[in-house]
């Protein structure tokens, strides 16, 4: 009996505490609601724009910027010598006025624009450029590789910088657009512990300062940065150029696509950068909301090792051609979602010199079967397809692998999917070039078609497929030729040669460029997908 009383009392207490909690939550929720709605009203009425973006970084000091989202901030607060004003074109001068390559392509002379001032009011000179690029180089952080081909720099006068390169590098202008090479206000940064000396990796202490505010010549000044939470950008009153009509950006670091979808539809945020195919479907038809589905330059590919010891029949060039013919590219586009593209060849659509998309009618099962018969596998064969646990912009590589399996079963190739986590051997095997047959993805380090040259025989990724320089010396030679082509037209010509050579042959099949999905409030103008900056906020205006 006693126990029963106890139980009754306990359950009564439980019920009461539950309702109490519920009440509390209700109060909180309504308080939160009003708070949000005032903020929402503020964002949709005034010249403040709220952006939600992904996480994955811990600093916005340009010298250390390497991840996907910090360039959004750096591009707003700083400027580089060159800039991508359009996502699909070549870099154009920004702080630079003009540039010139020497005869041997080993020296690049850049003239700076005159009359440019930093947010502090200091004028921008060649000394600032030297300081910024040397600092990035000497900090030896993740992005320092970008300056690897810069041997040394000199500044003959206040408006001129001369770059001496270690080798011919037709991508140098693109590299100079990279956020890590943004031009800092050297006087201010030095005052706050910055240095560009050789030992900057240990002596530079400016990161804390550059995480609290910015020191650039950009359209905005960073007034607050709370890691993994929020960044606030306010208009730079001393901006030298023509500014947009957005006075303030609140950038929420909040990657969840469902939350972004809901806050966008309630008007609490204006731009949602991490939407998915599925959450986009929820927004379809919503009033005052614009949607963008476009392709990124992150590309998923099938790799077929050229060495028979690893890949068996898949190393046969005829079999490789057959597999290329058998894959159903439009099916991959459906699986990856709206906006997905299949590039024509090894260079992603959107890059300078790209030949665009591969025609979806390239798929031809009859031709694939004929090629297999020619190779001596008329009855098909069994093969293991190793796949890791990674995802390409949210698309599981195992999903791509399942599609490959299904497609190849149509021509008699029986694929057995073997999953191996990246950390448990896949990563090492991939880098060592011992994987026979796999599906992987490739994200570009910087926005230039030259990054794709690594897929050539003898280059980094080529070797991972056992494709050595001796196997195709002619194609391998195009690497150097592209690096030397500093003239854009000449460069496009070589890049097209590369793409044609790898259109039907070779160990790589580019299957899909991952899509990006952006949802935005239609009161904004100029929202667009940007590969180098995630979102170029300097191009956005309020209608």
């Amino acid at each position: 009996m006693k126990k029963r009383y106890l139980a009754a009392v306990l359950s009564a207490v439980l019920v009461m505490s539950c309702t109490a909690c519920g009440g509390g939550q209700d109060n909180n929720a309504s308080a939160g609601g009003t708070e949000e709605s005032t903020e929402g009203a503020q964002s949709s009425g005034s010249s403040t724009v709220v952006v939600a973006m992904g996480s994955g970084f811990a600093t916005v000091d340009p010298g250390y910027v390497y991840e996907k989202y910090p360039p959004l901030i750096v591009n707003a607060c700083y400027e580089n010598l060159f800039k991508f004003y359009d996502n699909d074109s070549a870099p154009e001068p920004c702080l630079a006025d003009s540039y010139e390559f020497s005869e041997d392509n080993l020296t690049l002379t850049v003239k700076l624009k005159e009359g440019i001032t930093f947010a502090s009011g200091n004028p921008m000179t060649s000394a600032d450029v030297l300081f910024s690029i040397n600092r990035c180089k000497n900090l030896q952080g993740n992005p320092s590789f970008i300056a690897d081909t810069i041997e040394s720099m000199e500044a003959p006068d206040e408006q001129t910088i001369v770059f001496h390169l270690t080798q011919e590098d037709s991508a140098i202008l693109s590299k100079l657009t990279y956020s890590a090479l943004a031009i800092l206000d050297s006087a201010v940064v030095k005052e706050n512990g910055g240095t560009d000396a050789e030992d900057a990796a240990t002596t530079d202490t400016a990161q804390a300062y550059l995480d609290s505010t910015s020191a650039g010549s950009g359209m905005y000044v960073m007034t607050s940065y709370i890691p993994d939470e929020e960044v606030v950008l306010e208009k730079n009153p001393n901006y030298w150029g023509e500014a947009t009509n957005v006075d303030k950006y609140i950038i929420k670091i909040q990657p969840d696509s469902n939350t972004q979808m809901m806050t966008l539809s309630t008007g609490d945020i204006d731009v949602a950068l991490n939407m998915t195919d599925d959450t986009m479907a929820e927004l379809a038809g919503a009033e005052n909301i614009g949607i963008i589905n476009g392709a990124t330059k992150t590309v998923g590919f099938v790799m077929m090792n050229m060495k028979e010891e690893y890949s068996g029949p898949v190393s046969n060039p005829k079999v490789q051609q057959a597999i290329r013919k058998a894959l159903d590219y439009s099916g991959f586009q459906i699986i990856c979602g709206e906006g997905t593209l299949t590039p024509y060849s090894v260079i992603q659509s959107g890059f300078m010199g790209s030949k665009g998309e591969r025609a979806t009618d390239y798929t031809n099962l009859e031709e694939a079967k004929a090629l297999l018969a020619e190779a001596g596998y008329a009855d098909g064969f069994d093969v293991d397809l190793t796949v890791s646990d990674l995802d390409m912009e949210g698309i599981l590589l195992t999903d791509l692998a399942q599609k490959v399996k299904d497609d190849l079963s149509q021509v008699g190739i029986n694929v057995n999917i073997v999953s191996q986590p990246w950390a448990a051997g896949y990563g090492d095997a991939y880098r060592d070039g011992t994987l026979g047959f796999t599906v992987m993805y490739w994200g570009t380090d910087y926005n230039d078609p030259n990054v794709q040259l690594e897929f050539l025989p003898g280059a980094v990724v080529g070797l991972r497929a056992g494709w050595s320089e001796e196997m195709n010396p002619e194609l391998a030679a195009l690497y150097q030729e592209t690096m030397a082509a500093t003239d854009n037209d000449a460069r496009i010509a070589v890049l097209e040669q590369v793409q044609d050579a790898m259109y039907e042959d070779g160990p790589f099949i580019m299957i899909a460029q991952a899509p990006a999905h952006i949802g935005y409030n239609s009161r904004l103008d100029g929202v667009a997908i940007s590969d180098p900056y995630a979102l170029d906020v300097t191009l956005i205006n309020i209608k």
């Binding site: 646990d389 299904d406 191996q420 986590p421």
Partner: protein, 278 residues
């Protein structure tokens, strides 16, 4: 015993329900080729993510595969992994724990410390490590699950044996000169096994979930194998398409609940204090 089982079927309908659910799933798994209307791995992208309909009872997934067929086939992997893991881990753990508890002393100490070493690792991480090192397939995953699961049985068994061995009938057997092995097999284990049996039946659901978790992490069966856990994780990306994760989730749920009902029923049956009620 047989009479009390019959009686229980009549009086304890939760137990009966549990048995029916489990039998249905086992039958479905065995007769999958006859019951499933479609090939569980055949893709058709034109039928992608279609809601449940007459042709596709449970709808289709992101590859246009028939979820109903996949759920039926999926029972084969999930049930096999769940039941076999529990049986093997249960046998190992029971014997190990009984020996440790009955022998006592230093042997007990050493044996229990070994089992605690395994328990000290987070079980999922340990299973992942074993699986990653051995390579992932159905057999290795079950092996990893057994390694992780047996110490719990051993500890339970030992604690029960510690009290059982103090009983007069054990002392009587000893006085009659029975060998220790005989006492262990004939007196100790039969009188301690009930709690392990109960735990084992309820554990089947856990093991199915654990197996599913490992599959989700790419360490179980490889896609496109229709495995319940993997199907649930596939569906997580389609939160507004409830059927993709919902139906395989329901399968795991009913299976786990069924196993739990049987476990509860068995406890009633095997617990001498409750047996009188029937």
């Amino acid at each position: 015993m047989l009479r009390s089982v019959k009686k229980m079927f009549r009086s304890n309908y939760l137990f009966t329900l549990g048995v029916i659910i489990c039998l249905l799933w086992i039958l479905a798994a065995i007769l999958a080729p006859l019951l499933a209307p479609c090939d569980p791995v055949a893709q058709d992208l034109t039928l992608r993510l279609k809601p449940p309909s007459a042709t596709h009872l449970f709808g289709t997934d992101n590859f246009g595969r028939d979820i109903f067929s996949r759920v039926i086939y999926g029972g084969r992997y999930s049930l096999l992994a769940g039941c076999l893991t529990v049986v093997i881990a249960g046998c190992i753990g029971t014997f190990y724990g009984a020996v440790a508890g009955y022998v006592g002393g230093l042997a007990d100490n050493v044996m229990m410390r070994i089992s605690e070493m395994i328990l000290a690792f987070p079980s999922l991480i340990l299973a992942m490590i074993i699986n990653a090192v051995l390579g992932s397939n159905l057999f290795n995953t079950m092996f990893a699950l057994v390694i992780v699961a047996w110490p719990t049985y051993a500890r339970l068994m030992r604690s029960v044996v510690l009290s059982v061995k103090e009983n007069e009938y054990v002392t009587a057997s000893e006085a009659l000169g029975a060998s220790r092995f005989r006492i262990l097999l004939k007196e100790i284990i039969p009188n301690s096994i009930s709690s392990v049996l109960i735990m084992a039946t309820t554990d089947i659901g856990n093991q199915i979930l654990m197996f599913s978790t490992l599959s989700f992490l790419g360490l179980g069966s490889a896609p496109p194998t229709p495995e319940w856990g993997m199907m649930v994780s596939d569906g997580v990306d389609y939160f507004n398409k409830f059927w993709v994760a919902g139906f395989p989730g329901l399968a795991i749920f009913t299976m786990a609940v069924g196993a739990n009902f049987i476990g509860d029923g068995l406890r009633d049956l095997l617990d001498p204090k409750l047996r009188k009620q029937f």
